[in-house]
């Protein structure tokens, strides 16, 4: 960076110096995506500890209901479908944004947000139903681990939706500028990451939970 400052004023007319300046200033843009990736990796570790807690406590029912009695697999399948379809609609939004089609990108982002909200709504319904049946987080070690893991994932989806809505306002105001494209790329990573975590939630918690 200091090197750039030293060469730039001395050769302000030289095309070669300007070109060099361009290449050097490329890094902050990619730095954001790399930094965001490292954040996601640290989030992986957060989920890993919650999965480890579930692996240890997942069969401690304390005389209460087991996963086989509580989990409603068709509901989980619908929820999985919501999240998976929202992944590809976000992909369509990125393709539209890349082609500089603002209106189409906004439409796909909107659909993604609605699908995310459906996922969250269904999950809240499930939680409400469980607590109503007396299977709240304080019932057994299994349910504590279940609510912490699935609840943390749901909280991530909630923040993803908040981010998505804020970004839609940004897009409406500033269009598909370089900054907004960078933000979209970060949110794209975040959204797909949540879908990856959900693969392990439905496999490890729900599907393996109903098996004896």
């Amino acid at each position: 960076m200091s090197n750039t400052n030293a060469t730039f004023p001395s050769a302000s007319g030289g095309a070669a110096a300007v070109r060099e300046y361009h290449v050097r200033e490329h890094h902050p843009e990619q730095g954001t995506l790399l930094g965001f990736w490292i954040y996601l990796m640290s989030d992986c570790l957060l989920f890993a500890s919650l999965f480890a807690a579930y692996a240890v406590l997942g069969r401690n029912y304390a005389g209460g209901p087991s996963g086989a009695e509580l989990f409603d697999l068709p509901l989980v399948a619908i929820n999985t479908a919501f999240l998976l379809v929202s992944s590809i609609t976000f992909g369509f939004a990125m393709i539209a944004a890349q082609a500089k089609k603002l209106r189409s990108a906004m439409l796909w982002l909107g659909i993604t947000g609605v699908l995310g909200a459906c996922f969250l709504g269904l999950e809240l319904y499930e939680f409400y139903h469980l607590i109503h049946e007396g299977a709240g987080p304080s019932r057994s070690g299994f349910l504590t681990a279940f609510f912490s893991l699935v609840g943390t994932h749901g909280l991530h989806v909630l923040f993803g939706i908040v981010w998505l809505v804020v970004l839609m306002f940004q897009l409406a105001k500033h269009g598909l500028s370089g900054e907004n494209m960078r933000r979209l790329s970060c949110l794209s990573l975040f959204w797909h990451f949540l879908d990856v975590v959900w693969i392990f939630v439905f496999t490890f918690v729900y599907l393996m939970g109903v098996l004896p």
Binding site: M1, T4, L34, L45, I95, Q98, G141
Partner: protein, 135 residues
């Protein structure tokens, strides 16, 4: 000073600083179709009681692993060259830590349960602690 210049450049040259990832329709549809197949099969295996439970566990974990790779390649656009290889380095470090955390916890806690003196749960109940203490 240099920050100010950076901002200027982006102000009138939008396409310039965009990330190197190219989002293609083919990638997303391929990934989506594979992900749907890899999701439907484990649900079918469990809901239809197709295999015996202990085999099913390993099979669905295998499907989750394959789907993880599908998502990484087609949705997260991972490859060994993105961000100059640093993405992959961070991922490998995370996987190492993940394996240590998960296998370590499960191993230690399993042995602790297995080596617990039999009847300790009952003893706690008799001495007046709640029956939930040992759960």
């Amino acid at each position: 000073m240099s920050d100010h210049h950076t901002h200027d450049h982006h102000g009138h040259d939008h396409g310039h600083g965009e990330p190197a990832v190219h989002y293609s329709l083919k990638d997303y549809t391929t990934g989506f179709v594979l992900a749907v197949i890899l999701t439907v099969i484990p649900f079918w295996l469990v809901m239809g009681n197709v295999l015996d439970p202990s085999t099913t566990k390993f099979v669905i974990l295998g499907f989750a692993g394959i789907q993880l790779i599908v998502h990484m390649v087609y949705f997260l656009h991972m490859n060994s060259k993105s961000e100059g290889g640093w993405n992959m380095m961070a991922l490998i470090l995370t996987i190492v830590l993940l394996v240590i955390v998960l296998s370590g916890s499960i191993w230690v806690m399993h042995h602790m349960n297995a080596n617990m003196m039999p009847g300790m749960g009952d003893a706690a109940a008799v001495t007046g602690h709640g029956p939930h203490d040992m759960q």
